[in-house]
Amino acid sequence: MAVFTRGFTGRRREQDSRLPPGQTKVDDWPVLSAGPSPRVDTETWEFTIRSESGPPHRWTWDEIHELGVEDITTDIHCVTHWSKLDMAWRGVSLDLLFEDVETSYDYVMAHSYGGYTTNIPLDELLDGQSWIAFEADGEPLGIEHGGPARLLVPKLYFWKSAKWIRGLELMPDDDPGFWEQAGYHLHGDPWKEERYW
């Protein structure tokens, strides 16, 4: 139920069927961050997966790259109404990282350097749906975009693709992360416009 806006016809009119409802295509790359960008050195960078069974799984910067970096071409959608189409990313599939992880839990909390968190269902991270990404559009990820490494979960709004990723923690319940506690949707599917609760 929208009111028609007197005199508005729209200039851009992106008709691309890859744009979810309420999104506008951009060519630059806007930034959404709650605080300063933490400076993370790849020398000391570490990525960890913790589950309820066994010790944590850890990778250094070199070790995670040795698992195999793949090229990904995907669209990304930010809750603040912009989308970027056909972005070229490089990263390591979470399928490789979860190969030896045993868990009966269904949810994941992503933790970042700097303290950011976001919650995601485990089955939306596996089967070729998410990566730890190091490069975008041919460049190492800039610090303001989450460099040196961020989670990449393109099927969900982009606040789920945690910048400055440090680790994943399996959890039994779908507990809310940082923005989810501050009014953003627990799930965040752009095609259902799951922006806010």
């Binding site: 139920m1 929208a2 009111v3 028609f4 806006t5 007197r6 005199g7 508005f8 016809t9 729209g10 200039r11 851009r12 009119r13 309420g22 506008t24 951009v26 630059d28 790359w29 806007p30 930034v31 959404l32 961050s33 709650a34 605080g35 300063p36 960008s37 933490p38 603040t80 109404h81 700097g114 303290g115 800039g142 610090i143 303001e144 975009h145 923005w179 506690q181 501050a182 009014g183 806010y196």
Partner: protein
């Protein structure tokens, strides 16, 4: 106390629209169903064409509290789709769909803060949510020390000049404003920032809002100077 309204769609009617700066316009919206908002929150404005085409953008609110008259200040982006319409076409009496209030992190509430001083740092139109905080601080007569460092191209480009002067003149809750005219005396630097900010020992709560590159630089300098990253809240606009 502000009732914390759940975000929802509302219809607003334009009550007033006038030039704010050479490139920006102030818009006063009457939103009778608005649940109130905290200082620093924003809303989405959605425009709908006759054939159903829609475009949505986020704008910070320069007012706060239970009032249902909301002030926005919209800067025209030369290549924009929504901002040129809002700056040039929108007229008093027009109706707009708005969704909000949005944002629960980049907010300042007079009733919930510690005695830590508050440092506001704005780049250009990024001053809008900080104006809401400065006004809320003045309206509450809140004793928390408040400073605003406002980087803006020239004196003509200052938003809410009178409101900021009024807040600065408040007897009970004064605001100190340091203007940095970037096209006149040069850009804000780390040294200037260190000189005008509260010292690290005062452990201020910091809010920074502006273009992405400005906020990235300022937030980085604050951390370099020694401010705790967890005390710095940011809001950015524009791309890289």
């Amino acid at each position: 106390m502000i009732r914390r309204g759940r975000a929802a769609w509302h219809v607003g009617t334009v009550r007033e629209a006038r030039p704010e700066t050479p490139s920006a316009r102030r818009i006063v919206l009457d939103v009778p169903t608005w649940p109130g908002n905290a200082a620093g929150q924003h809303l989405d404005v959605r425009l709908t064409a006759p054939d159903g085409y829609q475009a949505t953008r986020s704008y910070s609110i320069a007012t706060s509290g239970p009032d249902t008259l909301l002030e926005l200040a919209v800067d025209e982006l030369p290549d924009g789709e929504v901002s040129p319409f809002l700056v040039h076409e929108l007229a008093v009496g027009d109706e707009l769909d708005v969704h909000g209030p949005l944002g629960a992190f980049f907010v300042w509430r007079p009733d919930e803060t510690s005695s830590a001083p508050v440092l506001l740092i704005a780049g250009g139109s990024g001053v809008v949510p900080l104006v809401a905080m400065a006004r809320a601080h003045a309206a509450a007569g809140d004793p928390t020390p408040f400073r605003l460092v406002y980087s803006v191209r020239t004196p003509d480009d200052v938003y809410f000049e009178k409101e900021l002067a009024d807040a600065a003149a408040s007897a009970t809750a004064p605001l100190r404003v340091d203007y940095i005219y970037s096209r006149v005396t040069g850009r804000l630097t780390r040294d200037t920032l260190a000189a005008v900010a509260f010292p690290v020992s005062a452990a201020p709560q910091v809010f920074v809002c502006g273009p992405t590159a400005f906020v990235e630089a300022v937030a980085g300098w604050l951390v370099d100077i020694g401010h705790s990253p967890t005390s710095i809240r940011t809001e950015r606009f524009g791309g890289t």
